[in-house]
Every structure is written in C-alpha cells, then in structure tokens.
C-alpha cells in the first residue's frame, strides 16, 4: 500500500503543478486558468438556472441533472477514445516503472487513476454549477441530495473512462499490427468519434421524447444509461440500497476492467514499441538538398503534426466536422431550416432573412470551426526537450514562431477552402462574398493560431510523459479551448444580433477589416512578448 502511495505521489507530482500556486511562475499567471474555470462555471450556472425555470412548471427539474450526467459521460467517452491510447500505452516512464518491483496491475491502475482525476476535474467544471443551481429550483432538498450528488460526481467518470480505455486498448491493439500505426490509429479513432457523435445525436432525440412522455421516466433513463438514470431516481426517491449498489457496480467494473486490461496491456505495449526499419538505402540515393530555413521549419512542424495521432485527431476533428456539415447542408438544407428558424433552441431567423444572409451563416460555420481548431496551443509544449535544439540554432525566434503559425495555416486553410467551395456552389454565393469568405477562412483561423501559441508560450509543458498530456490535459490547451468557446459563442451572438440589419457584403467587409486589425495586433504582440517568453523556456 505504501509502495502504491509513493508511486501515485511520484506519478502525479508533475501533473498537479497545474493546481499549485507556489511555483516559479507568477501567481497571476496561475490564477488565469482558475479565473477562466470559474467564469465558465458561472456561465453554466446561469444557463442551468434558466433551463430549470422552464422545467419548473412540469415539476421535472431533476431530469436536467440526468441529461447533463448523460451528455458529460458521452463527452468523456468521445474525448477518452483517442486520449486513452497515448495516456495508457507507450508512455515515457514505461521502462522505469517496468523495471521496478511493482505489479503490472498497479502500473495500469496508476495510469487509469491519472486519467480519472483529470476527467473528474473536467466533469466537475460542468456538473457542479448545475448541481448548485438545482438547489434553488428543487421542490424538496434534503441531505440525501448532497450525498447523492457528491457520490455521483465522484463515480460518474468511472464507466466512461473504462469504456474509453477498452476502446483505446482495442484501437491500439488493432493499429499496433499495422506498419503505419499512426495512420491506422487516426482513421480508426475518427470512425469511432463520428460513430459516437451520430449515436449521441439520436440519443438527444430519445431524451427529448422522454421529456414529453413523463410516465416512468426514471426507469426509461436507467435503461438508456444506468448512472444518469439512477441519479434522477435517487434524487426523487432516495434509497440507500440503490446508492450502495451503484457504488459497488462501479467499483466492480473498475476492478474487473483493470484485471482484464492488465492481461493484454503489456502485449499491446510491446507491439506498439516494436520498431520498423526501412530497407538499407545507399547514401548516394538519399535526398541531400538545401532548403530555406522557413521551409525546413514548416516541414518539421508538419512532420510532428502528422506523426502525433492524438494531436491530429484533437485538432482535425472540427475540420472533419466542417466538411461533413458542408456536405449535409448541401444535401439536406431543407431539414436544417427549422433548426435555424426555430425560436426555441434555434437562431430564430425568418426564412427570408436566412436566404438573404447565407454567406453570414457560412461565416458562423467558419468561425466555429476555426475557434474549435486550436492547433497551436500545443506546438511549443510538444517540442519537449527538443526546445534546446531550436534555441541553440542560428534562427530568429520570430522565424521559429511564425513557421509554427504557417504550418497550422497549411493544415486548416485547404480544408476550409474545400468546405467553402461546396457551400459556394450550393448557395450560388456572389464573387465578392466568396472572395471575402476565402480571406476570412485564413484570417479567422489565424487569430485562433496566434492565441494558441501565445497561451502555450505563457503555459508551456515541456516535461510531459506523452503527447496526450500536452494536447488534452495541459493548462495551455484548457485555456485555449475555453477562449475558443467564448469567442465562438461571441461570434454567434454578435452575428445573430446584426444579421438583417446590414447588407451581407458590407458586413463581411467590416468583419474582414476587424480581423485584419486583430491579427496585426496579435502578430505584434507575439513578436514582442512571445520572443521574451520563448527565451525563458527551459527544460
């Protein structure tokens, strides 16, 4: 037990620095993620209050807690699928831990525990404000609500992370057999993600149906997803036996999964570590050619991107969704119109307004994709110890930073252009607006890329055990994603307020000018402050 405790302490120390205020970084920079987290929780609390208000006449406020528990579990599985593989398999500390006299199950337990703690924190960000908001709207609050909620908060992530680990193990096991492991992992994970997304869309319809048909609702939710359903059941009708049963079920699932996974864990791990070498190539047949510094740096960046599956899936998912959305809109626009025109849950636009402002809606889509595609928030951290190579080379820091931005633009721009062209043809967008939207497809992601790299320079994580820690669990990725969400929401709010009040071409020109100004400011800031932050980086 003492051994396990020491191991947990050693493995968690570097990650938990995120939550320490007493580090070499200034207190103010440590407070930024805390402030953003609190702000996000406040926003969720506000939204939950208005939703509870709508549900109050039906006396079914507890349904919202179930729905959120369910949605967050789906999100955890979606995130976990591509995170579980690199978090659990093929870690940097494998050799060290495997050489120590520790049971393999313990090593796996520690890896899953790390995963669990981060998911618990992320889940709490969303669930805590809703749980707090419920207190105001509940008809009868007793101590059992608090007990149930705490237990739920602690146990809800278990099943999703176990599912993610199993799916992660399956994908890792399958891909470890391929020569091109990374490509296979990316394709498999993307298929799984799109699949789960489609299932969750349908689940939402089922949930909406359930709200309308109140009879026996608890039993129905339990059938769909037991932990979410049991939460609602225990709030409305507390039963200690059922609460204990829920706890036992989770513990049994966790223990059994660790036991079963540990049987395959090391086989998969060793297969993943297997190295493939290419055929011997004579030196005269190799390409030895001079290129410019920027070209070479961009090539290096793209190489890192395409060789890091978790990075490509995380940042490429929004781009894939953009293309899918463009295709769906092209073929099924009529079925999307009610969503856009609906006053409840939609944008509440009239059909005429919609038809006259299609280009602005394309702009919304571009903005959402750009702000969800924050590639640069990890580009500094992913350098790891190699940051010393860059720092020792005769290159200006400006060239290094800008080459990272250019390589991200090389990734985002072609995808956005393809989506744009599909939509331009479908809606016969005029040349001026098409050109403006193409320019904005570069300018808006550019803002996202600038913000990402600025945040990453401020919050680098150069000592991560694996790429998933950098891409998914670092302060930098958290802050960038939150900023992206806020900017995406702001874009939608501003656009829906302005739509119809101004000619769409003029609106696009104004937006383009605004984005040119924002990008110029961010560029100047990056060159001035970014250079200072880059110089401070040490491993």
């Amino acid at each position: 037990m003492k051994k396990t405790y020491s191991l947990i302490k050693a493995c968690m120390t570097s990650d938990m620095n995120l939550f320490k205020l007493k580090t070499k970084n200034k207190k103010s920079s440590k407070l930024v993620p805390l402030f953003i987290a609190l702000y996000l929780m406040f926003m969720i609390w506000g939204s939950a209050n208005s939703m509870f208000e709508k549900l109050a006449p039906t006396h079914m406020q507890y349904i919202l807690l179930s729905l959120f528990a369910f949605s967050i579990s789906i999100l955890t599985i979606m995130e976990g699928i591509y995170k579980a593989g690199p978090l659990i398999f093929n870690c940097k500390d494998d050799d060290l831990l495997l050489s120590l006299p520790i049971k393999r199950k313990t090593i796996l337990f520690i890896r899953i525990l790390k995963f669990y703690i981060f998911e618990l924190l992320y889940n709490s960000l969303f669930l805590l404000p809703i749980m707090i908001a419920y207190i105001r709207w509940a008809e009868n609050i007793t101590w059992t609500y608090f007990l149930t909620s705490i237990i739920m908060l602690l146990f809800l992530p278990i099943i999703p992370i176990i599912l993610s680990c199993i799916l992660g193990a399956i994908t890792s096991s399958l891909t470890s057999r391929f020569k091109y492991k990374n490509a296979a992992q990316i394709i498999l994970s993307m298929i799984l993600l799109v699949g789960i997304l489609l299932i969750s869309f349908n689940s939402e319809n089922i949930m909406n149906y359930l709200i309308k048909h109140a009879n026996g609702i608890n039993d129905l939710i339990i059938k769909i997803y037991y932990p979410a359903g049991i939460y609602a059941k225990l709030i409305t009708n507390f039963n200690i036996k059922e609460l204990l049963l829920f706890i036992i079920i989770n513990i049994v699932i966790l223990t059994l999964s660790i036991y079963i996974l540990s049987k395959f864990y090391f086989k998969i791990n060793s297969r993943l570590k297997k190295i493939t070498t290419s055929k011997k190539t004579k030196i005269n047949n190799l390409i030895i050619k001079q290129r410019s510094k920027t070209y070479s740096l961009i090539k290096k960046e793209l190489n890192t991107f395409f060789k890091t599956p978790v990075f490509i899936i995380n940042s490429g998912f929004a781009l894939v969704l953009f293309i899918l959305t463009a295709i769906i809109i092209t073929y099924k626009f009529d079925s999307i119109i009610p969503i856009l025109t609906s006053k409840e849950g939609g944008l509440g636009l009239s059909k005429e307004l919609l038809n006259n402002n299609i280009s602005i809606l394309i702009l919304v889509l571009i903005s959402l994709t750009a702000y969800m595609t924050s590639i640069t928030n990890s580009v500094i951290s992913l350098e790891g110890k190699n940051i010393n190579i860059l720092k020792s080379l005769p290159i200006k820091i400006k060239t290094i930073l800008m080459s990272k931005i250019y390589s991200c633009l090389i990734i985002t721009t072609p995808v956005l252009l393809i989506g744009n062209i599909i939509l331009f043809i479908k809606f016969k967008i005029n040349i001026l607006e098409s050109l403006l939207l193409i320019v904005l497809s570069i300018l808006i992601p550019l803002v996202s890329h600038f913000i990402g790299i600025i945040v990453n320079l401020k919050y680098p994580k150069l000592d991560a055990e694996n790429s998933a820690e950098v891409v998914k669990q670092s302060t930098s990725s958290f802050i960038s994603v939150m900023i992206g969400m806020i900017l995406a929401l702001l874009s939608i709010v501003i656009i829906t307020k302005i739509i119809g009040k101004i000619n769409s071409s003029i609106f696009l020109i104004i937006v383009t000018i605004i984005y040119i100004i924002i990008n110029t400011i961010l560029y100047l800031y990056l060159i001035k402050k970014g250079t200072i932050e880059f110089n401070k980086l040490t491993v």
Binding site: K280, I283, I288, Q290, K299, I389, N535
Partner: protein, 235 residues
C-alpha cells in the same frame, strides 16, 4: 575565441555559476571538468544561447551571445549530453534540417554528410527514423549533424557517453583534425584520462565557481589530471 566574462547564473537564490571567467583560444581543445551539479551544463548551455544568464557576458569571436545570438550561433555547433533529436524524423531529414538552419549549400553538406556518415559507420542507416536507433547511434547522428555544417567552434557536453570504442577513437581523430584547422573544441567530461591526453587546456569548476583554469601542463604538473581533480575536490 570564446571569452567568458564574469558570468553569474542564478536559479532562484542558488548561484549555479558564480562570477566565472576564462578564455578559450583558437586551436584549443578545452576540457571543462567538475563534479555532478558543478555547473558544467549550465555554462555550456549559456555559451550556446540556450540559457540566459544574470550577470557578465560571453563573447564568441568578439560578438556577444546576449546581444547578437544568431550571429554567434552561426559559428558554433552544440552536442548535448543526451542525444536530443526529432525522433520521428528520418536521420537524413534531421541532418538536412540542421544544415538548412546553418544555410549550408547542397554540395558542402553532401560532402560532409558522406564523410562523417562513413567515419561513424552510418552510411546505410540514414534513411531510418531516429526513434529506431540505439543511444549510441542517436549520438552519432547528433555528431554528424553538428560536424556537417563545418563549425568554427564545437561545444560538446559529455560527448563520449554511450559511444562504442571505435566511435570514441574516431571523434578524437576528428577533434585533432579540427584543431589543426585552428578551430575550437570545448567539451565537458568525466573521463579524465582521455581529457588529459587529448586536451591542450582545462578548466575545473566546483559548486558554480571556477577553481582552476590554464594549460594542461600548468594545471596537472607532474601529477595525473585525476589526482589533481581529486585533491581540488577534497579541499
């Protein structure tokens, strides 16, 4: 010439380098020795521009690394203690990448890559990704990439760790060749008998302070370098 002038580097309140000053002349093979944690790597990283320092200055051929880092770095090559490379890259791509940063033309890099790949017996392995290499092979790639741009100053941190005996021998030959061309070789090491035979000058650092610096003959006299080092350590 490398001029280290009153360099002080602090980590919080602890001085990792305390007012260190010495000079490395052209044509020197300079050994930099000291116990673990003495400040060797900190000084090396300061010379090559990885670390900033709090006081003093470092001049490379009269140019300050603080004021004109890019110009200074153009003259130097750095070989770290651990072979840090972009492991997902093919070795040849990594070497090309380093040469691109030093703006080495195709003919010169081709000549140098072929020369050093042959010396280190890596000719038919350059098309593999670096993550498939052993520690020693990675070290050889770092050495090839450092030598391929024909640096005037070669700075190395524990260069012999992990290398096979033939590679160690080959490096020593290369270093002697560089000195004949009036270039500078500055390296840290714990292998004192190699340093004693190979180096013309030596500096010994202890707890961030320079305790001895000069020609190998002056420092060791009739004793062995190991003996001198042990005596200084015990003081």
């Amino acid at each position: 010439m490398i001029e280290i002038k009153n360099v002080t580097k602090k980590y919080g309140n602890k001085k990792a380098l305390d007012n260190v000053s010495f000079t490395v002349e052209d044509g020197d093979i300079f050994a930099f020795i000291g116990h673990n944690g003495a400040g060797k790597t900190t000084l090396i990283k300061s010379i090559v521009g990885i670390h900033d320092f709090d006081e003093g200055d470092i001049l490379i051929n009269g140019i300050s690394i603080k004021n004109e880092p890019v110009e200074c770095k153009k003259l130097m090559a750095y070989v770290p203690d651990n072979p840090e490379t972009y492991e997902h890259m093919k070795a040849i791509d990594y070497i090309n990448f380093i040469c691109d940063m030093y703006e080495i033309d195709t003919n010169e890099r081709e000549k140098n890559i072929k020369k050093y790949a042959k010396i280190f017996n890596m000719e038919d392995k350059l098309n593999d990704t670096i993550d498939s290499y052993s520690h020693g092979m990675k070290q050889k790639i770092v050495l090839i990439s450092a030598l391929a741009h024909n640096p005037k100053i070669l700075i190395m941190d524990e260069p012999f760790v992990g290398l096979d005996p033939k590679a160690v021998y080959d490096i020593k030959e290369i270093l002697n060749e560089m000195v004949k061309e009036n270039k500078i070789v500055f390296y840290s090491t714990h292998i004192l008998d190699v340093a004693e035979k190979l180096c013309s000058r030596v500096a010994i650092i202890k707890n961030g302070k320079l305790i001895k610096s000069g020609s190998m003959k002056e420092i060791k006299g009739d004793k062995s370098l190991e003996k001198v080092f042990m005596e200084l350590e015990e003081k």
